[in-house]
């Protein structure tokens, strides 16, 4: 017991020395690095398509170089109205998501943490997680059935809205632009809020119980506990999640939009990714499609940098 453990000195200094010293860790890291290299960095070469008149039979490199012509076509050409409409919709839907979708998992997590009976808590949590594990197609199809309203069939929610006088009989909510965004957000909350609450629940669980006991001793009520212990305790997690969310302001889960939208609701539903899919894939205008994608990525990158900088300047928490 009294013997001293003698650490072996690395034979080489510097980078190689560090690699040799922790070779097991680097070996574990290797698959992830390779994964990123193959699936995240190598495909970036495809962004060149945004500067080319892409011909799939010639490939990316051999296709004709066009400079920024695709971007000019995008922002000022014949597609400009649709592009800016999609741009606007992407921001608005994400803003709705931030305003309505972001708080719900936090509230859920707080509520879960307040449930005393562990069986009830676990059951409730599992029930709210479940929609996350169903496919987007399944969830969206159920939602569509609930709100569909045609001549001969009406979903439960559509019937309810008709009873309340909010919807004209025989009018499909899915064909009305005004309904798309609320429906989209509601489906998203239903599907993901339970699962997204996990990270906040974990953050709450990480707060020392002694802080709550101290608050009780001081005579604080539940709201005061939330304000002075829970929220400050969750702050790092909240800020990180907000930064990540801001980074995704220009990206939307296009699968759900594709499943829910139709050309009659483009005015409120068409987002950059669906616009990109239509113009790039369906219209085979690959160059312009890729330029949408690149434009989207650059703005998102700037947003993440901006959000991180702001966060770092006003708090101690940031991604880097």
């Amino acid at each position: 017991m009294g013997s001293e453990i003698k650490m072996r000195e690395p034979r080489c200094k510097g980078l190689i020395g560090a690699l040799l010293k922790d070779w097991r860790l680097y070996l574990l890291l290797l698959p992830l690095v390779l994964w990123f290299a193959v699936w995240a960095y190598k495909p970036m070469g495809g962004l060149l398509i945004a500067f080319k008149r892409f011909d799939s039979s010639l490939g990316v490199w051999s296709s004709e170089f066009r400079g920024i012509q695709n971007f000019i076509n995008l922002v000022s050409g014949v597609n400009k109205e649709q592009f800016w409409q999609a741009f606007r919709n992407t921001f608005i839907i994400n803003a709705y998501g931030l305003a309505f979708g972001f708080p719900v998992p936090i509230i859920l997590a707080i509520l879960f943490s307040e449930i005393g009976n562990s069986f009830v808590r676990k059951f409730t949590q599992t029930a709210t997680y479940l929609p996350h594990f169903l496919s987007e197609v399944t969830i969206t199809s159920i939602a569509i059935m609930l709100v569909y309203s045609g001549v001969h069939s009406t979903g439960i929610l559509a019937s309810l809205f008709q009873e309340l006088g909010l919807l004209e009989p025989g009018v499909s909510m899915l064909a009305k632009p005004n309904y798309f965004r609320p429906l989209y957000i509601a489906v998203g909350i239903w599907k993901e809020s339970g699962y997204n609450s996990i990270v906040y629940f974990a953050a709450i669980m990480g707060i020392s119980p002694t802080l709550y006991e101290a608050m009780k001793v001081d005579g604080a009520n539940k709201l005061q506990e939330l304000r002075y212990v829970t929220f400050p305790g969750m702050a790092p997690t909240l800020i990180i999640m907000i930064i990540m969310r801001v980074g995704h302001m220009l990206s939307i889960g296009y699968e759900r939009v594709l499943l829910m939208y139709n050309s009659n609701v483009y005015v409120t539903a068409d987002v950059l990714s669906t616009f990109e899919q239509r113009i790039g894939i369906l219209s085979a205008n690959y160059g312009v499609g890729a330029s949408v994608s690149l434009f989207n990525s650059l703005i998102a990158f700037a947003l993440v940098i901006g959000a991180n900088t702001i966060s770092r300047s006003i708090s101690d928490t940031s991604l880097w």
């Binding site: 632009p177 139709n262 312009v288």
Partner: protein, 703 residues
């Protein structure tokens, strides 16, 4: 410790393998030494040269035929095996019987390399990245334009050149006999790169089908107890009103059949008469209409205005009848329904069929080909012109909107999110627990008059109208060349033997034996004795095994059975034969054929026919696809948004909302034609039309 390290190593290897899953060699360079067979210029020779097809060597052929539906490929994908009459059992994964038969007939091994559920357009995109080297033959639906484009890029073999060398003799003979088809499939460089699927030509296609008993019950029953509970709000003001009143020279006398003249005696407008009614219920609307027919026509029974060979109704009279139907749901359905739908389309994806009513509003052109994507007509100078942007079409949309506001059109028809088969619902549930009732649709007549659907449906003549400046009976629709087919890959045919056998495969379906195989299936499915059609021509006849098996596995849907189980009727290059359709046509269907064929009614054709009137090209159908150069494709892609799906949605928004003025805030309805046209111009209409006019001139040898 050692064990932990070994386990870690295994785990890492697993992660590594998983992370790289999907990495494959990207073959983009194609195969060296492969060059396009054709070198430009028309290679189609007027006469068939010596047939050089040689089948002695056994050759392997890879086929990539994508239909976006694994049931429709050449591989059998049904869960249950199929036992053929000779005891052969076909199971999932095997070639369908037609294609197995083809292997024997052409001494080749056919390998299906299709990604079974892949869409044809995706298959083309994928194939183009490898210069189409992965198969000898590439085919699918709605890819003719791609096949032509990549053909001009040297990726597909010029079939004309092969014909000149003595291959594809049957296809060459077919094209020589059908020069219109040759013109329609010739690319801008004068070569032919694909063999198309051709529905039988020069025959009626879509026609008007109705419930017969509703017309007689409404119009021929004296003292009928019509409904009085529905008070119709009218929006439609009539087409034959004011200066356009139908009388005298303006459609006063029409000829539905040679030797039969029907004269309208007065200048009354039934729409104005109905609109003037103080109460517009089933009784008042119908009694007014019956009186109108008696005052204006010399029919034994008022229903003859619509039914049979003396039909002489115009679009206003059809709308008047629809109003009567709408206002008499209880009377017409014996109290089984409180709402009925006068007009509908088969599915929402067929909604453009409603636009085809334009013909009967003064001959406005809509789709001068069978495809909804074909929005062109040929003007008197031989140039193509865009149809959807015309003032006539705008007016038609307003009329349709007025019909919609009166409840005459089944409104789910416009809703693309609704995938229901409305024809089955509105015609096929009469005896069900929750019946739905519809009256008229514009659709293919054999399936529309099937006994299994509804025994009451019949074909009627179209509304008589001033078409191309002359009062006549005309349907601006006909059997057409489809934008489907297949082509022979340059890079995919590595040897001369493969190339020549690929030609033999393409050619085979234009031979008599191959045509029978593709239209009717394998010989053991047919009777020895032929089937004699109503046209007096003999056709191969399906035997009992075919009809019984079809009934058992495909609910009697013969075309589905042939496509999904047998592998025939696959829209690769062949001409569809009417004998197949005859054998599942009901007696009422045959009566419909007879009615149309014995009438003066004409329809659209590629040759253009001899339709009377101002524009000699009015009756001429446009090609199914246009062969665009790279520059033209760029011009369309970069300068226009005319082919995006919201064009049609915008038009149907006019139908939905214009008459009632109830459009949501986010939907803009053009206030007049100039705004409507401005919408198209903002999409690049002028550039779009100029591009296609240029392409069409090249296709027709005028540039």
């Amino acid at each position: 410790m050692k064990m932990k390290q070994v386990l870690s190593l295994i785990l890492i290897c697993g992660l590594l393998a998983a992370s790289l899953t999907g990495c494959v060699t990207n073959v983009t360079g194609g195969l060296d030494g492969q060059t396009p067979t054709g070198d430009g210029g028309s290679a189609v020779t007027p006469d068939v040269v010596e047939d050089k097809t040689d089948l002695t060597e056994h050759v392997g052929i890879r086929v990539n035929y994508a239909a976006g539906n694994k049931s429709r490929t050449i591989t059998y994908n049904q869960e249950s095996p199929l036992t053929l009459p000779d005891g052969t059992v076909v199971i999932a994964g095997m070639l369908k019987p037609t294609w197995s038969y083809l292997e024997t007939a052409l001494n080749c091994d056919i390998t299906d390399v299709t990604l079974q559920d892949q869409k044809a357009s995706e298959m083309i995109d994928t194939g183009s990245t490898t210069n189409f080297a992965d198969a000898n033959l590439f085919g699918g639906n709605s890819i003719a334009e791609d096949l032509m484009y990549y053909g001009t890029e040297g990726k597909f073999v010029d079939l004309g050149e092969m014909m000149a060398q003595g291959y594809l003799p049957n296809f060459q003979r077919y094209l020589n006999e059908n020069p219109d088809i040759r013109d329609a499939i010739t690319a801008y460089d004068g070569n032919i790169y694909y063999a198309p699927y051709i529905a039988e030509l020069d025959t009626f296609a879509r026609v008007f089908n109705i419930r017969e008993s509703w017309v007689t019950k409404l119009l021929d029953a004296d003292g009928a107890a019509y409904d009085t509970g529905v008070d119709l709000t009218t929006y439609y003001g009539g087409f034959y009103v004011g200066d356009n009143v139908r009388a005298g020279d303006n459609g006063g006398t029409v000829t539905p059949k040679e030797g039969v003249e029907i004269t309208k005696r007065t200048d009354q407008s039934i729409i104005e008469l109905q609109n003037a009614l103080a109460v517009k219920n089933g009784q008042t609307l119908t009694e007014t209409f019956v009186q109108y027919i008696r005052d204006n026509y010399d029919y034994d029974r008022p229903s003859q205005l619509f039914l049979g060979e003396k039909a002489a109704y115009d679009i206003d009279e059809l709308i008047a009848l629809m109003r009567c139907i709408k206002a008499n749901p209880g009377y017409l359905t014996d109290g089984r329904a409180s709402v009925v739908w006068p007009m509908f389309t088969r599915q929402s994806s067929y909604r453009e069929d409603l636009l085809r009513l334009s013909t009967y509003f003064g001959g406005v052109k809509c789709h001068s080909a069978d495809s909804y994507g074909s929005r062109w007509y040929i003007d008197e100078n031989g140039d193509v012109q865009y149809t959807y942007s015309t003032e006539g079409m705008y007016n038609v949309l307003r009329y349709l909107s007025q019909m919609e506001a009166e409840g005459l059109i089944y409104s789910d028809c416009y809703d693309l999110t609704n995938k229901t088969n409305f024809r089955s619902t509105l015609w096929g549930t009469d005896e069900g627990e929750s019946p739905s009732f519809g009256f008229i649709t514009f659709d293919w007549h054999a399936s529309s008059t099937a006994d299994s659907l509804n025994p009451d449906t019949v074909v009627i003549l179209p509304p008589v109208a001033k078409v191309n400046g002359v009062w006549q009976y005309y349907i601006d629709n006909g059997r057409a060349i489809k934008p489907d087919g297949w082509a022979i890959s340059v890079a995919g045919n590595r040897t001369e033997a493969e190339l020549h056998r690929s030609c033999a495969v393409v050619d085979y379906f234009f031979s008599e034996e191959g045509s029978t195989l593709q239209n009717y299936g394998i010989p053991m499915m047919l009777e020895a004795e032929p089937y004699v059609g109503p046209d007096g021509i003999s056709y191969p006849k399906f035997n009992t095994w075919t009809t019984e098996t079809c009934q058992a596995v495909a609910k009697g849907d013969l075309s589905t059975f042939l496509r999904d189980w047998i592998g025939s009727l696959i829209p690769v290059g062949f001409q569809k034969n009417i004998g197949f359709e005859y054998q599942y046509t009901s007696q009422r269907g045959f009566a419909g054929w007879e009615l149309l064929q014995n009438s003066t009614c004409t329809f659209a054709t590629y040759s253009g026919g001899e339709l009377a009137g101002e524009n000699p090209n009015y009756q001429r159908m446009v090609p199914p696809v246009f062969s665009l150069t790279l520059r033209q494709k760029d011009a369309v892609a970069e300068n226009t948004t005319m082919e995006q799906d919201d064009v049609v949605e915008g038009m149907f928004n006019i139908v939905r909302y214009a008459a009632r003025g109830n459009a949501p805030d986010s939907v803009t309805i053009p206030a007049d034609y100039s705004q409507y046209l401005a919408g198209f111009q903002a999409r690049g209409l002028d550039s779009y039309v100029a591009t296609y006019q240029q392409a069409y001139r090249v296709m027709t040898g005028r540039s």
